[in-house]
C-alpha cells in the first residue's frame, strides 16, 4: 500500500518547477473546461468522455493544445471519472485509460514547459456514512488511478470537484501514500457557502493542509462572481497557495449554455484574485478564449497579500472550531470508573457510547475526548469504529485519547476533519512514535508534562518538559498552534502543594510558550466531600491562570456555568451575550436541604406516574421516576419492567393497532421506555449483575439497500421491549447475515428491503439463513415486501410494521 512510484524524474521536476512558480508570488494559470468543450465538439452528455482517450486521442490532444496556446501552464488530463467504479460500467480499465490520457497531455505539452496534472474527480458513489462505500475502498480506487498517472509521467495530481471532505481526504491520502507528486485539491461549493454535504471552506482548508496538500481551493458549481467571499475564507485558513477554477456561471436549461461570457468571467475572477487566489483557471462552460483573456487580465498583476489568520483549530466538516478562548472538552466518553460504559465496550454496544457523546454535545461541550481503552478491548479495532459511529451523529470535533499509537493512527485515518490526539509526553520514544502520526494526519497533539522520572514537582520542571515537547513537534513539522500542553492536575487531598504548582505551570506555558493549555480538572477533588465545589473552584482559578481547554463533565451544569461566568469576566464573551442567553429567565434558588421528605413513587407523584410518563413519551420524567422508584426500594429492576414498563408499552401498541396512536407517538413512548431501561441497566451494572435481556435477534437491511430508517424504527421499538437487537446495518451481504446468525446462535432474524431491485438480495439472504444447520426464524418487511412475497421466498413471517415485529418477537423469543 505504501509503495511509492517514482519512475520519472519529471515528477520531482514538476514539484521543483511548481515550487519555483509558487514562490515567485506570480499567478499560475490552469486550463478551462474539458467536458463542456467536448460537448461543444459533439460528445453526447451522459457519454463517458474518458473513453475518448482511447477512441479519439487527437480530439483530446487538440483541446489541450488550444489551452496551451491560450496560456495555460498546467493542463488537466481527461481523467475526471477514470476510476474503476465508473469505468467498469463502460467496460474499460483505469490503468489503460489513465496512461493514455497522461500520454496525450504530455504530447500536447511537448517542450512548452506546460505541466500535466492528473485530474481526479469524485468516485460517483457516496462514502460511509452517507453512502455505503467504505473509506479504505475509496482510498484503494484513488490509489489505482494515481499510481497509473504517476507511472505515466504526470507532473502533479489535481483532485477536484469534491463535495464530501471524507472523499477528498481519501484521495489525498492515496496520493501521499503512493506518489511523491505535488497535489492540488479543490472542492465544489454551492450558494449556501458550503459543499452539498455541508462542509465549510475553513474545515476544508485546514483539514487538507494538515494532510499535506500543496494547494487548495474551489472549483466548479458556481461562477467566479459568487466565489470571492468563500476564497477569502479559504485563504484565511491556509498558508498554501489558493486555487480558483469556477464555472462560467450557470447553464441554461434549454440550450445548455453557461450564462457568463468571457469578459464577465474575467472581471469576476479579479475579485477572486483579490480574495487570495493565485492559481486560476476555469471549469464547466469555460473555453480557451476565457483562459486567454484571463491571462491578459492577470499580466503584470501580483498576487494579493495573504491573510492566514493562524491560531489553534479543530473541525469536523460542518463544525469549524477556532480556539481563541476557552473551549470545553467533554470527558465522559471514557470507561474509567464507569461500569456501564465498560459493559458497553465489552458488549460492543456503540449505541450507548454514542448516547454519552450526544448528551455532552447537547450540554454544550465544544470538543469530545474519546477514550475506549479497557482490558479485553482491542483499541486499534475499537477506536476507529467508535470514531465513525460518533461522527455519524455528533458534529463537534473529537480528541482521540489513547496511549496506543496503532489505535491513534487507525482512529485518525477515519476521522473526517482535524482532530486532536491525547497524548504524548516528554519521553523521546513516545514522541518519536506518535508525532509522525500526528503530522501525517494533520492533527493537534496534547503533551503531558511528565517523562520517565514522573511528574516534576515544580512548575519549572513541567514547563521544561513542555518546551521539549514543543521542540520535538516543531522538528516534525507540527506548528506550535497544534501543540497543546497538559500541566497535569494532581489530587489536592493527597498532594496539597501541587495544586498551586499546576496553576503556575499553566500560566508559564501560556505566557512564555504561547501554547494552548489543557487540564483534566475533575482529578483535583478525588477523596473529598462535596467534590463539585472543589472542582469548580479549581476550574475558575485555572481559567484565570490561562487554561484554555478544560476537560470536564459538561453535564454538570455548574461547571459550564463557571466557564460562562469566566468568559464574561475575561472579556471573551463580548457584551455578555452568551451569559445572558444562558441565564435569561433562570431564577437562581438557594437550595435548602431538608430531611425526612417523602420518597417519590413510581406509582405517582402529583398524578405523574411512570406509566403516564411512558404513554406521553416524556423521556426525562420516565428516567427520573424509574431512578426514584429503585432508590426508594419501592420496586426492583425486574418488577419495574414487568409491572410498569411492558404494560405501558402494550397500551401504546394497542392504540397504534387501533389507529388512535401514530408512529411518532409510538416512538416517543419507546424512547421514554428506553430511558427506563437505561436506568435499569446502569443499576444492574453498578451491582455487577448480569444484564436482563429477553432474548437476542438480528436486524439488517439487505445488500444493495442503503435506506434503513424503517429497520431502525423496528430496532428502537424492539429494544424497548427488552430484546437485545444486533443491528448489522444496511447494505449487508447475505453471507454476513448468515454468519452473524450462526456465530451468535440467534433464533430470530429480521430483514428489510425498500426497493424492488434489492428483493433478490432478500431472497438470497433468507435462502442462506435457512441453509444453516440451525436455521433461525426469519421475518421480513419494508416498502416493497408483501405477505405473499414473504411466503414465496421462504420467510416465516411478514411484518407490516414495527408493532407487528414485537408480536413476532414475543411469539418466537418469549
Amino acid at each position: 500500500m505504501e509503495q511509492r512510484i517514482e519512475t520519472r524524474s519529471q515528477g520531482e521536476n514538476g514539484k521543483g518547477c511548481l515550487k519555483e512558480i509558487l514562490a515567485q508570488k506570480s499567478f499560475l494559470l490552469l486550463d478551462g473546461g474539458m467536458g463542456t468543450v467536448l460537448q461543444q465538439k459533439g460528445l453526447t452528455p451522459g457519454g463517458v468522455p474518458e473513453l475518448l482517450n482511447l477512441t479519439n486521442p487527437e480530439l483530446i490532444r487538440s483541446v489541450h493544445r488550444d489551452y496551451i496556446d491560450a496560456g495555460s501552464r498546467v493542463i488537466y488530463t481527461n481523467t475526471f471519472g477514470a476510476n474503476s467504479l465508473k469505468l467498469a460500467r463502460a467496460g474499460a480499465d483505469t490503468a489503460s485509460v489513465v496512461s493514455a490520457a497522461v500520454a496525450i497531455a504530455r504530447e500536447a505539452a511537448g517542450d512548452t514547459g506546460t505541466l500535466t496534472a492528473l485530474d481526479v474527480g469524485p468516485l460517483g458513489e457516496l462514502l460511509e456514512p452517507m453512502g455505503s462505500l467504505p473509506f479504505e475502498r475509496a482510498c484503494e480506487l484513488f490509489r489505482e488511478m494515481i499510481a497509473a498517472g504517476t507511472a505515466a509521467g504526470a507532473d502533479l495530481i489535481a483532485i477536484e470537484t469534491m463535495t464530501d471532505l471524507q472523499e477528498a481526504r481519501a484521495a489525498l491520502l492515496a496520493a501521499k501514500e503512493c506518489s511523491s507528486l505535488p497535489v492540488f485539491v479543490t472542492m465544489s461549493f454551492d450558494e449556501t457557502g458550503r459543499t452539498f454535504t455541508g462542509c465549510t471552506a475553513a474545515s476544508m482548508a485546514r483539514t487538507l493542509e494538515g494532510l499535506g496538500a500543496d494547494a487548495v481551493g474551489l472549483n466548479c458549481s458556481l461562477g467566479p462572481d459568487k466565489l470571492a467571499p468563500l476564497l477569502r475564507e479559504v485563504s484565511e485558513n491556509t498558508r498554501l497557495p489558493v486555487i480558483a477554477k469556477p464555472n462560467a456561471g450557470l447553464p441554461d436549461p434549454v440550450d445548455g449554455r453557461y450564462d457568463m461570457g468571457p469578459e464577465d468571467f474575467v472581471q469576476a475572477m479579479l475579485a477572486c484574485v483579490e480574495a487570495g487566489a493565485s492559481i486560476a483557471g476555469g471549469c464547466c462552460g469555460t473555453t480557451p478564449d476565457y483562459i486567454r483573456r484571463l491571462k491578459a487580465a492577470l499580466a503584470g498583476r501580483r498576487a494579493a497579500p495573504r491573510r492566514y489568520a493562524g491560531g489553534s483549530f479543530l473541525c469536523t466538516p460542518v463544525c469549524p472550531l477556532t480556539i481563541d478562548g476557552v473551549r470545553v472538552v467533554g470527558e465522559r466518553v471514557n470507561p474509567t470508573g464507569k461500569k456501564r460504559f465498560q459493559q458497553a465496550l465489552l458488549e460492543n454496544d456503540l449505541d450507548y457510547i454514542l448516547d454519552v457523546a450526544v448528551e455532552q454535545e447537547e450540554a454544550g461541550a465544544h470538543i469530545l475526548d474519546v477514550n475506549v481503552g479497557f482490558p479485553g478491548v482491542d483499541e486499534a479495532d475499537m477506536l476507529p469504529r467508535v470514531v465513525k459511529k460518533l461522527q455519524s451523529a455528533v458534529s463537534v470535533p473529537l480528541q482521540l485519547d489513547s496511549s496506543n499509537p496503532d489505535a491513534l493512527e487507525a482512529g485518525l485515518r477515519v476521522y473526517c476533519g482535524k482532530a486532536s490526539v491525547n497524548s504524548v509526553n516528554g519521553e523521546p520514544e513516545v514522541l518519536e512514535r506518535v508525532l509522525p502520526i500526528v503530522k501525517k494526519y494533520g492533527a493537534a497533539v496534547v503533551g503531558l508534562t511528565l517523562d520517565k522520572q514522573g511528574i516534576p514537582q515544580t512548575a519549572e520542571g513541567r514547563v521544561a518538559i513542555a518546551r521539549r515537547i514543543l521542540d520535538a513537534a516543531l522538528a516534525h513539522g507540527i506548528p506550535g498552534e497544534d501543540v497543546w500542553i497538559d500541566c497535569l492536575t494532581l489530587t489536592v487531598s493527597a498532594q496539597q502543594d501541587q495544586a498551586q504548582e499546576t496553576l503556575k505551570a499553566v500560566r508559564a506555558v501560556r505566557e512564555e510558550l504561547g501554547l494552548q493549555t489543557l487540564l483534566g480538572v475533575s482529578n483535583i477533588s478525588f477523596g473529598l466531600p462535596n467534590r463539585p465545589l472543589i472542582t469548580r473552584s479549581f476550574l475558575t482559578q485555572a481559567l484565570g491562570a490561562g487554561l484554555t481547554l478544560p476537560i470536564i463533565n459538561p453535564n454538570q451544569r455548574e461547571m459550564l456555568d463557571a466557564v460562562s461566568a469566566f468568559r464574561v469576566l475575561s472579556g471573551e464573551d463580548s457584551q455578555c451575550r452568551d451569559y445572558i442567553e444562558r441565564f435569561a429567565g433562570v431564577t437562581v434558588r438557594t437550595e435548602v436541604v431538608s430531611s425526612g421528605a417523602p420518597a417519590p413513587s413510581a406509582a405517582g407523584e402529583g398524578g405523574k406516574s411512570l406509566e403516564s410518563a411512558i404513554l406521553k413519551g416524556l423521556k426525562a420524567d420516565a428516567g427520573r421516576l424509574a431512578r426514584e422508584a429503585l432508590a426508594s426500594g419501592e420496586a426492583d429492576e425486574l418488577s419495574l419492567v414487568e409491572t410498569h414498563l411492558i404494560p405501558a408499552l402494550d397500551r401504546v401498541g394497542d392504540g397504534y393497532e387501533k389507529g388512535t396512536v401514530f408512529l411518532p407517538q409510538l416512538l416517543s413512548a419507546a424512547q421514554a421506555a428506553q430511558a427506563v431501561f437505561e436506568v435499569i441497566r446502569s443499576s444492574i451494572a453498578a451491582k455487577g449483575g448480569a444484564p436482563v435481556k429477553k432474548g437476542t435477534l438480528i436486524v439488517a437491511t439487505v445488500q444493495g439497500d442503503i435506506h434503513d430508517i424503517g429497520k431502525n424504527i423496528v430496532k428502537t421499538v424492539l429494544e424497548n421491549y427488552g430484546y437485545e437487537v444486533l443491528d448489522l446495518g444496511r447494505d449487508v451481504p447475505p453471507e454476513a447475515v448468515a454468519e452473524a446468525a450462526e456465530h451468535r446462535k440467534v433464533r430470530l432474524v429480521g430483514l428489510s428491503a425498500l426497493m424492488t431491485t434489492t428483493l433478490p438480495a432478500m431472497e438470497e439472504t433468507v435462502r442462506q439463513l435457512k441453509a444453516l444447520p440451525e436455521p433461525p426464524v426469519v421475518f421480513v418487511g419494508g416498502a416493497v415486501v408483501t405477505p405473499d412475497y414473504a411466503g414465496r421466498i421462504g420467510a416465516d413471517y411478514y411484518a407490516r410494521d414495527a408493532r407487528q415485529s414485537v408480536e413476532i418477537a414475543k411469539e418466537v423469543l418469549g
Partner: protein, 221 residues
C-alpha cells in the same frame, strides 16, 4: 423559502387525520427542516424523438419506454428532465436525529419527502412560467407506472446531476441522497388532460405502504 405541508408530511407517515399536537410537531419539524435545507433542482428541455421502443430525449441517452411514457407524451414534441434533491445534509441530519430521537427522525423523514415534493412543484411552476405558451403534462418518475427504474443512471448522467446536485445512483438503482426525485414532464402545444397520479397506474400499488394503511399519496383520478 419552501416549507413542507404538515398534513402532507403526516400522510406519508400514515396519519390521515392528525391530532392537533402531532400536527404541531410536524409543523415545527417542517419549519426546522426548511431552515436547514432547501430543495435544489436542475432541469433540461429536450426534443422528443419517436423510436420504435419509445421516446428518445434528443441529445441524451435517455430512452423512455413503456405505456406510461407513451400515454403521457403522446401530444408532446419536447419534454423536461428534472432532478430535485434535499441534498446530503438532510441525510446527515437524519442519521444524527436517529441517534437522538427516533420519533423526531420519523417526522423529519416524512417532512423531507413533502419538502422534496414541494421542490418539484416549484421547478414545475418555474417551467410553466418560462414557457407560458406550452402546456405541461403531469410529472412522472421512474418506478411510477411502467417507466423503468433502470432509467435513473441515464437521467442523472444527462442532467450531470452528480456535479450539479451531488446526486448519485447506486448499482441497485437507489438514489442518493435519500430525498431525491427524478421526473419527466412533457411539454405540449395543447392542454393536457391525462393524469398519472393515482394508484391504478402505479407499479407500487401492490406493496405501497400508504395503500396498506388505506391512504393515497396523491390525487386519484
Amino acid at each position: 423559502m419552501l416549507r413542507p405541508d404538515p398534513d402532507e408530511s403526516l400522510r406519508y407517515l400514515g396519519v390521515p387525520e392528525p391530532p392537533e399536537d402531532l400536527r404541531r410537531r410536524a409543523g415545527a419539524a417542517g419549519e426546522a427542516l426548511a431552515g436547514l435545507v432547501q430543495p435544489r433542482y436542475t432541469y433540461r428541455i429536450c426534443g422528443l424523438e419517436r423510436r420504435e421502443e419509445g421516446f428518445l430525449l434528443a441529445g441524451t441517452g435517455v430512452l423512455l419506454t413503456g405505456s406510461t411514457a407513451a400515454r403521457m407524451l403522446a401530444d408532446c414534441r419536447q419534454a423536461a428532465l428534472l432532478a430535485c434533491t434535499l441534498g446530503a445534509r438532510f441525510d446527515l441530519k437524519l442519521l444524527a436525529l436517529q441517534a437522538r430521537d427516533m420519533a423526531e427522525a420519523a417526522l423529519w423523514d416524512a417532512c423531507g419527502s413533502a419538502l422534496a415534493e414541494a421542490g418539484c412543484e416549484a421547478a414545475e411552476a418555474e417551467l410553466a412560467a418560462r414557457f407560458p405558451e406550452l402546456f405541461l403534462t403531469d410529472r412522472f418518475s421512474p418506478g411510477y407506472g411502467d417507466l423503468p427504474l433502470t432509467l435513473q443512471p441515464d437521467i442523472c448522467a444527462a442532467l450531470d446531476a452528480g456535479r450539479r446536485l451531488g446526486v448519485h445512483v447506486s448499482e441497485s438503482l437507489l438514489m442518493n441522497p435519500v430525498k431525491t426525485v427524478t421526473a419527466v414532464i412533457g411539454l405540449s402545444d395543447r392542454p393536457q388532460a391525462a393524469r398519472i397520479r393515482g394508484c391504478a397506474y402505479c407499479q407500487m400499488r401492490e406493496t405501497c405502504q400508504l395503500r396498506k394503511g388505506g391512504i393515497r399519496c396523491g390525487t386519484e383520478n
